[in-house]
Point group: C2
Chain length 312, copies 2
């Protein structure tokens, strides 16, 4: 089955202490869609401007990503620019030009409304709407869900901003999710709990059956009906650019879930392992440069290694 992925499609200009790369293909939906495409067909929902390079459209197509719901509008593509510190753990935003993303309303064609696996990738980025409270109508994740016929598994990823500007809408959304994926600092912000396991328990009470807390290079933790799962990050000696790693993780996970035989409960742990592996490739190059050079057998190889790395 295919995965419907809604999120940002952007141009990222990324600076690290060693290099600078302007206008890479980026955005949460781009990273998640490419990651998912290794496992299942993908329907991308997003918006770009007239300046969006044709080579990036070609890249999506090479990954056989369905672009029917990718709007190409007159105007500029969402452009984000950021700079990493030497340890790659902290970044600061240098520039955010929303362009056509500012007024983006994700409208699903008929063919997309029947999707069974839905990923609401991170859809807001940095300083943008920090300035104002958002209205319910503007809360795009709910707007997307309202168009779906009968999704089987809906996951939403990281939305730190919603915590600040749309908490009531976020709480509404949580009740409609099967899985909620967030990072440890967001979990702390949402629950006021420093302890990850205490936070997981509190987030379950807000609705989602599965809660996954991402901890970057420390891996991630799942809490679900069959208990918890400690998912390792694939060990990397060198991180070139971590932008999009979290999106790759959740994209890979959703792609694996959409085609795996058996129930979500049977497969979600292994799905996280595959997501973790795709995220590791993402970190090894700027933007999607490394991820777009791998194939399924590279992924399977690292998944096997992760199995060996955790056995005792």
């Amino acid at each position: 089955m295919s995965v419907l992925i809604v999120g940002s499609t952007a141009l990222d200009s990324i600076k690290t202490p060693r290099a600078e790369n302007p206008r890479l293909l980026g955005g949460s939906a781009s990273h998640a869609a490419v990651a998912a495409s290794f496992f299942s067909p993908v329907q991308l929902v997003g918006v770009v401007g007239g300046d969006f390079p044709r080579r990036y459209l070609a890249l999506y197509k090479r990954r056989r990503i369905d672009l029917e719901a990718l709007q190409i509008l007159p105007g500029k593509t969402f452009h984000w620019s950021g700079e990493y510190e030497s340890n790659m753990n902290h970044r600061r935003t240098l520039l955010t030009e929303l362009g056509v993303f500012e007024t983006f309303t994700p409208t699903l064609p008929k063919s997309h409304q029947a999707a069974r696996y839905v990923l609401l990738a991170n859809i807001a980025t940095d300083p943008w709407c920090r300035q104002r409270r958002i209205s319910a109508a503007e809360f795009r994740p709910l707007h997307v869900l309202d168009q779906m016929q009968r999704p089987k598994f809906v996951a939403a990823d990281t939305m730190d901003l919603w915590l600040n500007i749309a908490l009531p809408e976020l709480l509404k959304l949580l009740k409609r999710l099967d899985a909620f994926v967030l990072n440890d600092s967001e979990a702390h912000q949402l629950t006021k709990e420093e302890n990850v396991f205490a936070a997981l328990k509190k987030i379950h009470k807000l609705g989602p059956k599965y809660v996954i807390i991402k901890k970057g290079s420390h891996g991630s933790i799942l809490s679900g009906p069959r208990g918890s799962f400690i998912c390792p990050a694939y060990p990397l000696r060198k991180v070139v650019d971590p932008t999009g790693a979290g999106d790759s993780f959740v994209g890979g996970m959703m792609g694996y879930l959409a085609t795996a035989k058996g129930s979500v409960e049977d497969n979600i742990r292994r799905a996280m392992i595959y997501g973790s592996v795709v995220a590791s490739f993402c970190c090894e190059g700027f933007g999607l440069t490394r991820t777009t050079k791998i194939n399924r057998s590279h992924i399977n190889q690292r998944a096997k290694e992760l199995e060996k790395l955790t056995r005792f």
Copy 2:
């Protein structure tokens, strides 16, 4: 086989946002020895003053810890006092009274010199010798090793201070170790590498066959001849007092190794899991209060749970 453990035996006064506990049994050797005692006989090498409570001697004895090399000298027992912040990740030292520990020279009785498993637990604490360079003769870990006949497996734990005041001696020590255990910030300090896996590689070059980097609640990572192992921390919803958790980890690991059948290479991963479990109990109470209330079946239970928590 028994484990010889050299380190500090102290009284710890610990303050957290919720409670204050004066003069608990503490010190790296106390925590490591109690942890190891669940798996193997232990020979403790340390020093206490005339003020050392008899109930703490009784506690060691209840754990069947051999006290022949625990010197009881006129004077005061090493007393450390510290305060934790609300997230339990940061602590500050309020007071350090070295007492009889200041001039402690670990001298091994004949019966101890033949020990096959040796743990050099953290032997220096906080502001103490930061003020001066230490001489080779004063470097107690080497002094201990010089007395050993033919140890089979020597491990040393965390010695951030040596990095500052005795780097040449530490480098000498590293060449004589089988395993070096340190935390992530120390690994960074020693190697100037932010990346844990890059740091592991560099530390191997300094001598030890096994290098273990501890990451607190994120678990630990082993690098050895059979590759790496990602060892999870046991999930805790509440941490009461993390003092001694690292010592419990390495103590439990050494105790398990000393009695497990087969080679160190066969057993070290499972040994880390057991160490991780004992460390989790340590965190659930002040000082050793929780650790001294458990038995081997509690430990086995959590080790099984950890297995379940990491399988996919």
